[in-house]
């Protein structure tokens, strides 16, 4: 396998950025840490700084105020970084794509490696998506 695949084989550290979201996705992501789903058994941790992250999770529709922050975040992220767009809003803007402050979707601002649709996607779907991304089946 290539160097990138080797790096991402296990123990992904994940940084989460919530745009203009309703929080359903944020809570389902956080839910992945709790005893029922327990992401940590895969060695997956939520980290507090983008500089420690292997994966950038983005959810919520991106509004004009968030756009610059997202670009800056991506710039600061150590490469290679995998970007995952979560939820209908992250993937396409969802119901808020017609809003006057909409500046997205995520893949119009930064390159995206994976999409996990849903409103919100269940923790099982989020875990399946991230694990799939890491090369595990």
């Amino acid at each position: 396998m290539g160097f990138k695949d080797y790096c991402f084989r296990k123990s992904l550290w994940v940084f989460h950025f919530g745009g203009a979201s309703c929080n359903n996705c944020d809570i389902e992501i956080l839910d992945c840490l709790t005893p029922r789903h327990d992401l940590e058994r895969f060695g997956i941790l939520l980290v507090g700084s983008i500089r420690h992250a292997d994966v950038l999770l983005v959810n919520g529709s991106i509004n004009t105020r968030d756009k610059d922050r997202l670009i800056e975040l991506y710039r600061q992220a150590p490469k290679p970084i995998l970007v995952v767009a979560i939820g209908a809003c992250g993937c396409t803007g969802g119901i808020f794509a017609e809003s006057i402050t909409f500046a997205g979707p995520v893949d119009a601002i930064i390159p995206v490696d994976a999409y996990i649709p849903g409103c919100p996607p269940k923790p099982e779907a989020i875990i399946a998506g991230i694990v799939k991304l890491a090369g595990k089946k």
Partner: protein
């Protein structure tokens, strides 16, 4: 080790120019002033509503906030049904109240978990969120989704709760009662939690009236307002329950109100289930042909307080104007009173105590020097300070290990 105790919630950006939600201006340890910055979440929902049909608006308003997601369709339905002058069936009333109270349960459990995290009780956080799961499973069984239930429509509800499902719901509720006993015991009797929350983040009765705060924030200061009692709707006048209040107005009182409200919610749901068994299955909606011209004001008691929807109809398929006010809008403003004069270490829990919508809690606060305006601490640091304070209290012997 330290990575595990500080579970970061959401995107704390240690970027230099990050505008946090609350800027605390500090003089040494004491908070002297607070500025609130927002706009990061603005999605022009009120304007979007004018381009959707009444049926579509329900899906839109459900996504205003994920935790209070049912309260918005609830208030909107009340407003529109007021304009149309219709009354829904009893079965629809019971179902609406069941969904509303299940949401209150899961929301308060979520809050208990977050409060636990901010105080350094990560076990409480894990437990509370673990006990939330069966409630979310119930939602999935009844509505098909763990969040955003799409249950409301003008004239009733979209899906029935079949009587065959009722025994399952009853079982989950009776288990939940025992789990809440556990949580309540762990939180309410712990002397360290007492030390961290009593006298902290106090809002007086006069503060509540001046800011027109609502929900548990108001009830914890002895102001007994609750839309379910004051302006009754759905099945609330059909069942027996009481409004929970506390005196003290501090973080402890707010926690007490939320914990006790969970028991009331369970009781309301159980009575509504009894009600479902007495009325005809399937009778969940009435036909509505059009929404006439008119004005309606609808409200509902969300877990955080009064949700208010004001709808102006011009007789067409879409609202001509739809004004939405979530409870956090009036509650968050009270931080001016609850945080100023306190230490920075107490700031996080005081802010969390009014239970701002989670997206607000994510980017909570940063501390700035009051004279130089320089940023001193970011959100992560503030939580760290809060955890340190808890450790100090524990070590000084005020608590147990």
């Amino acid at each position: 080790m330290s990575k595990k105790t500080l579970i970061p919630i959401g995107p704390y950006h240690p970027l230099q120019e990050e505008p946090e939600l609350f800027k605390l201006f500090c003089d040494g340890e004491i908070v002297r002033d607070i500025k609130w910055e927002t706009g990061y979440n603005h999605r022009s929902i009120e304007k979007l509503s004018e381009s959707k049909t009444y049926d579509q608006v329900f899906f839109l308003v459900e996504r205003i906030c994920g935790i209070c997601s049912t309260s918005h369709p609830f208030a909107f339905a009340n407003a529109v049904e007021e304009i149309a002058g219709i009354e829904i069936t009893d079965r629809a009333k019971y179902i609406r109240s069941i969904i509303g109270e299940l949401e209150r349960l899961h929301s308060h459990l979520l809050w208990v978990g977050l409060a636990g995290h901010f105080l350094g009780y990560n076990t409480v956080f894990m437990w509370a969120w673990k006990y939330r799961e069966p409630v979310l499973d119930l939602f999935e069984m009844i509505t098909g989704n763990r969040n955003s239930y799409a249950m409301f429509k003008v004239g009733g509800v979209r899906r029935d709760i079949e009587n065959s499902k009722i025994p399952v719901i009853r079982k989950v509720l009776s288990d939940a009662r025992k789990k809440i006993d556990l949580l309540a015991g762990a939180v309410m009797d712990d002397p360290v939690i007492h030390a961290r929350t009593k006298g902290v983040g106090v809002l007086t009765r006069q503060d509540i009236i001046d800011y027109a705060a609502v929900g548990p924030t108001a009830r914890a200061s002895g102001v007994a307002i609750d839309i379910r009692k004051d302006d009754p709707y759905a099945a609330y006048p059909l069942v027996n329950w009481k409004v929970i209040t506390a005196e003290g107005g501090d973080v402890f009182a707010k926690a007490e109100v939320r914990l006790l409200e969970m028991y009331e919610s369970i009781s309301i749901i159980e009575q509504c289930l009894d009600g479902l068994e007495k009325v005809r299955e399937g009778d969940i909606t009435i036909k509505v042909n059009e929404i006439p011209e008119g004005i309606g004001a609808g409200r509902a008691e969300a877990p955080r307080g009064e949700v208010f929807h004001f709808v102006v109809s011009d007789g067409s398929n879409s609202p001509a104007r739809h004004k939405i006010r979530a409870p956090s809008y009036v509650n968050i403003a009270t931080f001016k009173k609850s945080c100023i004069g306190q230490t920075i270490a107490d700031a996080t829990i005081s802010l969390a105590a009014v239970d701002p919508c989670y997206c607000c809690t994510e980017r909570m606060a940063a501390a700035y020097d009051v004279s130089s305006g320089k940023r001193l601490l970011n959100a992560n640091d503030l939580i760290g300070l809060s955890l340190k304070r808890t450790e100090e209290i524990r070590k000084s012997g005020a608590g147990h290990e």
